[in-house]
Symmetry: C2
Subunit: 223 residues, 2 copies
DNA sequence: GTCTATAGCGCGATAGAC
DNA sequence: GTCTATCGCGCTATAGAC
């Protein structure tokens, strides 16, 4: 998944080429840049983001950013890579052996927690999808599609066993993604309509409760 | 709501200042520009969009675009204005006198139809929200908030009358918006996961059916 | 009202001293 | 490995001939 694979451009020396100390500095700087970039890409979009703002937010001079990531595109790809990994991990509760009600509730809560704790990641991904997914089309049609097909099979198994009301499992996933990610992606709308300055723990708890209630009862898993 | 209010910059003459013919040309050109701009802002975002591409898509020379809309910002505002009007109209089925099940089904179908027929409008709005809604904050906290509060009262009335399972009406709306708009905004993801080139009538019908079934049963409105 | 030609500038990227 | 100084492109916007 990793896109960035730094090629050493400097003259080689004998012995262990990068000292432990330099490696630590590099790791620290790369982490700071990725974090800053996620925030800036989230709020400005790819075209609206400037490398100057990212560098400033990361607390490093602009040319150093270009030293670690040669182009803005490369940096963007690296940010997306991190996000895609997150995304795949969230589905882990959906397995055939699980109890449907608990598994779906856990999935909703995991996705909602991700919206709460990693809103920038959600927004960068949303922005990428919104503009036609030029950088992640391969991933969507590949790894993600296979994973979703797998999980859909699990749901179909539950339906066949009469443990769930019949439903199209793919569309069920689309609704779950939308309903949970909307609290990160479109928080500007939600806070404005609720008349709040920002969303807190309580709002996310209420949101998770509402989505769970609707979906679980909608699938016949609740009185 | 109209942001644009053209100020005549040319020398005035006696008689009816703009002839009927010129007015028609203006109307035609403005409409072409707005349509093109909606598409380009949807696919590229505000910063990514170029006035050159909009002009080309509208079939007019670039400087003419600046003649009708002095700045890119002004054009963007005009596009948003149209979209906000659309948005408000969709809630018309939610009224106290209506039968809850039919009203909610109609709302879901109206929003889904809007995703199918005006995907660019949905995307422009989504993009605006995603980046903090700088241009529509006032609208969200004003007209939209009042409308949603109104409609939430209707839902609460239905709940109080025992016609609906208790639910937080605001969060219900957030879920409905998310579940329907996702088919326009994130179509890149949906088509990739479904392995299709694009979404057709049948896909939107299936989507509306899934959302309706989940939500209506989730609210206790269906066996 | 139309369009060519260009001004002006913000931004990504890099050269080159340290 | 760091950072100042700068290049050059691509964009918005406009001047001015038609």
């Amino acid at each position: 998944m990793r896109t960035e694979k730094k090629k050493r451009a400097t003259k080689r020396r004998s012995g262990p080429p990068p000292t432990a100390k330099k490696l630590a500095i590099r790791r620290e700087n790369v982490a700071r840049i990725l974090e800053a970039a996620e925030a800036v890409f989230a709020t400005r979009g790819f075209s609206g983001a400037t490398t100057a703002e990212i560098a400033e937010r990361a607390g490093i001079p602009k040319p150093n950013l270009h030293y670690y990531f040669r182009t803005k595109q490369a940096l963007y790809r690296a940010v997306l890579d991190d996000i895609l990994t997150l995304w795949l991990d969230a589905t882990s509760s959906i397995v055939a052996e699980a109890e449907p009600k608990a598994a779906l509730r856990a999935y909703i809560e995991a996705k909602m927690a991700y919206s709460r704790t990693r809103p920038f990641a959600s927004k960068v991904f949303a922005n990428e999808l919104l503009h036609g997914a030029p950088a992640v089309k391969g991933f969507l049609g590949g790894a993600m599609r296979r994973l979703v097909d797998d999980k859909a099979k699990v749901i179909e198994g539950w339906i066949a066993a009469g443990r769930l009301q019949p439903i199209d499992p793919h569309h069920l996933f689309f609704v779950l993604w939308a309903a949970t990610q909307t609290y990160a992606d479109f928080d500007a709308q939600i806070t404005a309509v609720l008349g709040k300055r920002s969303l807190g723990e309580a709002d996310f708890a209420q949101a998770a409760e509402t989505v769970s209630a609707l979906v679980l009862r909608g699938l016949g898993l609740k009185a």
